[in-house]
Symmetry: C2
Subunit: 331 residues, 2 copies
């Protein structure tokens, strides 16, 4: 399997992308096509590669982090993210991984590959480490003003992803709200709940913010505004917790000793919380596989995103998703 | 100063409320009026009190956690939460603390005390432990479908609260969104931003979920749906973190030793994260002081909520808030 990596996206591009790609080649046995400015990529590779499992696909342009996504993608036909999705369309690669402007990644995928039938709004899913197993939160930022039917479609898309890619049998779907009773929540939640209740999906009911970590349900559906606030909140909280814990430990002799003894446990704990472990967020609802990485991704996060992309592309997730969307179209 | 405590609210009522009240009397030098069923309160007090600083105000009814708030408050004229706010209205007490049905507390306060002029929607604020100092998040659940002017009013109300009760000089206000640029966010955020920008308030701009912990701003404004998701998320995350950390430490000999040595540091760390430290969430925008506690509050949380209520009531916060609301009414 060959996967395209947008070498020009991300805050540390192209070095981080190149390192992540080299790690993926070594550890995962996939082939990588690095899409971007040839001179820069070659300089970053520094001779350290093998044409059998790594190729460079040159293009001159890229979308910057601060550009308006849709406009930039439309104008820059030779931008790395567009070229990468073109390679998917031509079936030269199986998936795209990008740590660049996430709005541009979304726009380029829709423009190039098109939306799935019944997926009016493609969405971004994020996988959280729940106490009982992974929890898929969808949408985490693609759609800020959603209608109930869009939220319902997010649930269907995540169902296919969780069952095939995460191996969850008949995933339980929860709707993010502010109280478990059906009467609570806003207008959007009340109407969406009706759609889920009249479907054949394994709908659990409303869940609260805390359930992103309990693992009571496998999938949590929300609009992209709320989902993005939640995503950023957990990132900020993980950093703050780690910092406060260390400060507290360093303030006493016993604490300092505990910090030394517990270093390995603390590191494993941090790794569990680190979003780099999951690598990236899958883009659901388009006719092809795209993984969106954090702009400040590490090489390890890029490698793990490539792993997720391969898992997403090698199974029949896309077919299952398309089938499920069409089946629930009337609902 | 005398403060009314709704003895019938909360999952552990009346025992938790009674214990919290007794601690407050001992440690804070306030007088407490316990509002609720006399027999139950007396049984819980078990003779362990002094009429000088503790009184019982009998009433026969109360609002259960699962009741529809507005309906229950309207129907039950003798419910503890209504009676408590009546005591504020009659100037017999200075504030109300309740761990009961929060919707009912909100409804009873509005019904009894009335809204402040210029505060079309009273809101619930919550104080987070930011890296640089306390951060006030408003609204955390009172209003699920807000208009831009309501969000603007939340900012004004929190400004008065933060400057008087938390001692923050000219508090910086941020608007919760999903990107720092003004073009990002949803329609509601874009319109609210304009209102803040044309006011004289110290408006910082849009902030993201992570800023609830960074302390980059002193106040973060959002609608009650998003705010409640964020509040519950942080509660769930704090619990999950503590559990995962302990599991990880217990899985190795060095970790176990570290856990023993670091016990005191870890406890101080947990205390910093514990919402019981702040005790409760102030109700802003009504003509009087009310503090809403978590249903599963501990006696310590009740005591701290009483402390916050006293600080809120003894200063000129209400006057400042009312003045600021009227001043910005046209804006």
């Amino acid at each position: 399997m060959e996967i395209a990596v947008d070498a020009m996206g991300g805050d540390g591009a192209p070095d981080v992308e190149v390192q992540g790609a080299l790690e993926a080649v070594r550890e995962l046995g996939v082939r990588i096509r690095l899409v971007g400015k040839k001179e820069l990529i070659e300089k970053s590779l520094n001779g350290n590669w093998n044409k059998e499992n790594l190729a460079i696909h040159h293009c001159d342009e890229w979308v910057r982090m601060d550009e308006a996504p849709l406009k930039a993608v439309r104008k820059k036909k030779d931008a790395s993210i567009r070229v990468a999705f073109d390679l998917v369309k031509k079936k030269q690669v199986s998936a795209v991984v990008s740590a660049g402007n996430s709005g541009a990644t979304m726009a380029a995928s829709v423009l190039t590959l098109g939306r799935m039938e019944g997926a009016e709004r493609p969405a971004i899913a994020s996988v959280f480490p729940g106490q009982k197993g992974p929890v898929v939160l969808i949408d985490v930022g693609a759609n800020v003003d959603c209608r109930p039917k869009h939220l319902f479609q997010f649930g269907i898309m995540a169902h296919a992803f969780a069952s095939v890619c995460l191996g969850v049998k008949d995933p339980k779907i929860g709707l993010l709200s502010i109280g478990e009773e059906g009467s609570k929540g806003n207008e959007q939640v009340r109407l969406t709940r009706q759609l889920f209740e009249s479907s054949n999906l394994n709908f659990w009911g409303n869940v609260e913010g805390r359930d992103i970590f309990t693992g009571e349900v496998d999938i949590i559906v929300c609009d992209g505004f709320v989902g993005n606030v939640a995503l950023k909140l957990t990132e900020g909280m993980a950093e703050t917790f780690a910092m406060m814990l260390e400060q507290e430990m360093r303030s006493s002799v016993a604490g300092k000793a505990a910090l030394m003894l517990g270093r390995r446990s603390l590191r494993r704990f941090s790794e569990k919380l680190d979003y780099a472990e999951y690598g990236g967020a899958p883009l659901l609802g388009v006719n092809g596989v795209g993984i969106i990485c954090h702009g400040s991704s590490s090489p390890k996060a890029i490698k793990n995103a490539i792993k997720l992309a391969a898992r997403y592309a090698e199974n029949d997730t896309l077919e299952r998703m398309a089938g499920l969307l069409v089946k629930n179209k009337g609902g």
